[in-house]
Symmetry: D3
Subunit: 254 residues, 6 copies
């Protein structure tokens, strides 16, 4: 089996670390790390819903994704300074929000809103998949706290399933899991897959960066992604049991 | 076989119409219609490339997608009036540009830029897939004109393949092709597929709107999309042969 | 009598075409063509009025004018992308709204709003006058539909008169009617005149582009404009009688 | 003859005052007052022209009009705070620039730029006509200084003529000159006329605010305006002779 | 004692002039001049308070500072044209608002709002201190008028004290009062001090522009500022007694 | 001696922690913590300077301050989403940049630019002082690296001194050091002091939040601040010696 530039096998995740409660004020918060990629997720729970949803009896979950200017190798200008949000930022924010909403029973959430702020402190590939994976844990914590504090008053659990996400891609003809920045830049095809803890698909976004790909390659990538999401779902379950603190979990080849 | 609300079979496209040369000034232009969805695509060819690409010897292709305020059933505010571009607009513009770039040999294009403006005059579902399908034809015309006028000077043809796109979705448990607005609003899953004329994949974007979906359903949707894209590729080829004017092609069940 | 670059006499309009019902969703819509200038007008009728007019018992009519990026010979940047609306766009939107409001009895309209979206699909001079001329027809259709659907409930007809507009200018010392882009670029003076169907003036905007002009020249231009507006008013009346569809009317020298 | 609410006859201007050199830094500056309307005009002369005009050997003149937030009876929000410039502001800025450019020989100006900043310190009707009338004087001073300092190096005088502007309107059926805010609010028709010192027309902008108007009324208004502009041209000539300071000139009924 | 470039002693203010009632519409207005620095302050009193303060029984005072484009030696772009407010503008607006709020008893003001618009017509150093000094007088006039008109209904006087401000700095090692532009550009340290009429401190903002400064130097500057503010407080008191009009007061070395 | 709500004495800092090298890409980076206040500072060094400084032979140092939306107790909207930067953000960014520039010899830096991004991950009072204190360490690391990599080529050390900052305030009549959010909200006076490692002043910003303050109180606050800055300067020196990693330093009352 081929080896990758960092020694991983094609089916290996990078080291993944989920640190719950990284912030003191937020109802739920997680520092999620996929290798050097580090995303801080804060879940903010507030009573009430946006105007267009008032009186529906249903809640709302939304997400905002952003990068610190020096998260990347070279510094980028701040979107607040430029005065507008770029297309990539918008696209990822929408993806995260949509993915998390799929596993929330909005009736059970009641007329409450949860905003998931996903701020990339350091970027090394896979920031959107790390964000989704971490956002699930922050969301779950915010919901648990909301139920405990009787802000969420329905007896039914609003969380229907768990959600995790991972990237796959074709590098030098070989499908590999969880690409870092170096691999991402060299990939012919890039795919992000979002799955529930039960192994069903929430989102599949595959893009031919250089070369169009065929159905067989698509299937290989989907198989890889399924394996990665399963491991992440296990980690999410584990970290949720531990009463507090950090779980360190190397899932790499070491 | 189930019938849809407009009488189509699950595997039927709507009536598709491609009118070349709808505009007098643009180097390439197409009015593309998928049923009531009507998108005007203008391809603008200019010498030179954006600053970051200067001196590379390579060209650039980009796209901008927008909707007229009354394209939709209810009027929406103009993005120019709101002073910013929405996430959806950004996302679709990026998708169109990326899809078309995949089939262009940038070295053969030389240091020239083609902008594809895709303006939705009327929306009834599938605006992004209509835009991509039409944009290919406008792009091809602009490239042909550019070669004729010696703006594009390489002897190698810059167009490597053709591109078409179609939507598929799961409505009431049944996978159907080319959803209109009514079906789109009711779909559990929504997928957009971009393919080359050779049947390879350029982009797969599947989203669980309500229910996560499994691999079997994904495969059914991909099969449907492949059939649709093949028909569109045929139409594109046909319209490109006709020296001028309109091709009317009902591909529906009528 | 002098001949113009396209063979017209100084008193000739270009071919004018009004296609009603070009859109399926809008309460009124017209594709208006003055030669190669093509403007799509959509009239959107909604119940209610802007906040500052609430409780007045009076309606509101407003307009928004815009150009597609490749309406012009060279592509222009989108105003939505630049994040602000240019002065020319603002100015023309205001002119169109003001002109149409002059012929509407706001009490008879009741607390309803009509927005007239005038999008220039192709520009070849005279876009604002084409927009006003078309907007009247779209407005009339929206009002008729609103009365039929009992959204507009007053028994009194809200439309007090019809409105048409035409440009005149002085080219090489000769006053001419309905300038196209080539003439417009060469004109010493440029004037836009908006008139009611009864031949009274709603708006006169004359500008010395190169040379100041005297009262005699102003009078010649006003005479020309009066003749042009009268012809347009006739066409508007004709197209409104025909139950549906397209009226093709060459009013030129052919 | 009818009397107006402030005692003026229909043909009377308000008191007009032009104070040259109101600012210390600007190459030309004027505080112009039409009754209570007070506009500060600063002319800034700089070497060089905008990029699109470089190498043409011709200069450029442009204008920016704005209002202080409490110029008006009730405070308005600042356009800088709202983050965008309103349509009315744009429209007036363009009118001022266009009017002044008509009397400048751009070849004689050479590749230099003059910006005319017209800031309304207090508004009581006629701000745009006061601005144009004052801007001519500030422009003339800036040009004179530029020639003296050899920034403008052509021997030919760049100023071809003088420019003044005045408003006319129909109030209660009677055409009147130089409307103040109270009259302006009540006028059926509102017209702004810009003329050269020789009595030719630069710009005519007549708008039916309530009732369409006929050619006779238009002619009456143009006659009134011609008389007003002639008086203003006299004042401009007078103030330019006086070596420095203030000319107070009541042109009213006193 | 050292002499400054304009002949002043280190402890001298420039000539200060306060002209009350410079505007006709505003509830309070002052043209304040510190030498060539000229700031027009308008105080706008309106009933009601911003949303976040409603029902508190307390009023609100806020300020907006801005510069005309040609207030400075070279013309600057308008913030309305650039579409955003610069940091310096924001900072000074906040300083003025904060300073004035310190002397207002918000309960006694009742649920009314006063906006202080400070527009710099000409800048020659010390614009923020001139603005604060003038704003106090405009504020006092607006409050007096508001009480007279029973908009402010509490019997208690809302003004607790007066406010004045002055700049001090270290130029060539010597601490000097009220720097003009030339001195400001050359200063090692720049400090703005806001004081009440009783001589207590409201705001101290000292900045080492070139060289850090020690406690002794800080004390010297504070002594100078106290003297300057005392003189300004005297002037403010004097101008408030005079029933109307202009007080000219040279406080310089003449 | 009085005790504060968290058990500190008036002269106590909170626990301060400086973690160097928190980021992998940035030329210098520090996670600085003052109690629960946590600011991530990244120093980005690039060759070249802004246009207005080109050819001067001098470098440039600037700073940008921002808060994550959930840094605060309640979530705030993102400035990128609102499309503009608030006054407070601007003000603090300018303060940080100015403070750091005071200790940099721009000639010795050469034509290189260092941007200091200070992102508040969690806010509990004193974010600007924590940012300045941390920014010095990140700046020093970036300069050291720049000299090592020969990007900074002068032999002279560009850092002239160290910089630290602390807040002081008057709470219930007692001057206290390093206020947290609870104290800050209750303070009568709030002051931020920036000092060099030698104990001279760079910036003094004192604001009467409720009550004006006198010179004695000002002096007490300055004494407290001097003590705080001295301790911070010691910590900065210590952390710079340690070859890598984290220094934990409780400077509180424990």
């Amino acid at each position: 089996m081929t080896t990758r530039h960092d020694g991983r096998k094609p089916t290996d995740l990078r080291e993944v670390r989920l640190t719950r409660g990284w912030l003191d004020h937020a109802e739920g918060s997680v520092l999620v790390e996929f290798g050097k990629t580090r995303v801080l997720v804060a879940a903010s729970l507030t009573e009430g819903v946006p105007r267009w949803r008032k009186g529906s009896g249903e809640g709302w979950v939304t997400a905002e994704y952003a990068m610190l200017p020096r998260a990347t190798h070279d510094r980028s200008d701040r979107e607040s300074v430029r005065g507008k949000i770029g297309g990539r930022t918008h696209e990822i924010s929408r993806l995260i929000g949509r993915s998390l909403r799929t596993v929330v029973d909005m009736k059970a959430l009641g007329e409450n809103t949860i905003v998931l702020d996903c701020d990339v402190l350091q970027a090394d590939g896979g920031t959107r998949t790390a964000a989704i994976t971490g956002a699930y844990v922050a969301l779950a914590d915010a919901i648990a706290l909301g139920r405990e504090r009787k802000i969420i008053r329905q007896s039914r659990e609003p969380l229907v399933s768990s959600v995790a996400a991972i990237s796959v891609g074709v590098v030098k003809g070989v499908p590999v899991l969880d690409l870092d920045y170096v691999e991402d830049s060299a990939a012919d095809t890039d795919m992000n897959v979002v799955m529930t803890g039960d192994g069903t698909l929430i989102e599949v976004q595959g893009t031919a960066e250089r070369e169009p790909f065929d159905r067989d390659m698509l299937n290989s990538m989907l198989d890889l992604a399924a394996g990665g999401c399963e491991q992440l779902a296990g980690l999410q379950a584990m970290v949720r049991i531990r009463p507090d603190g950090t779980i360190f979990q190397g899932v790499g080849s070491r």
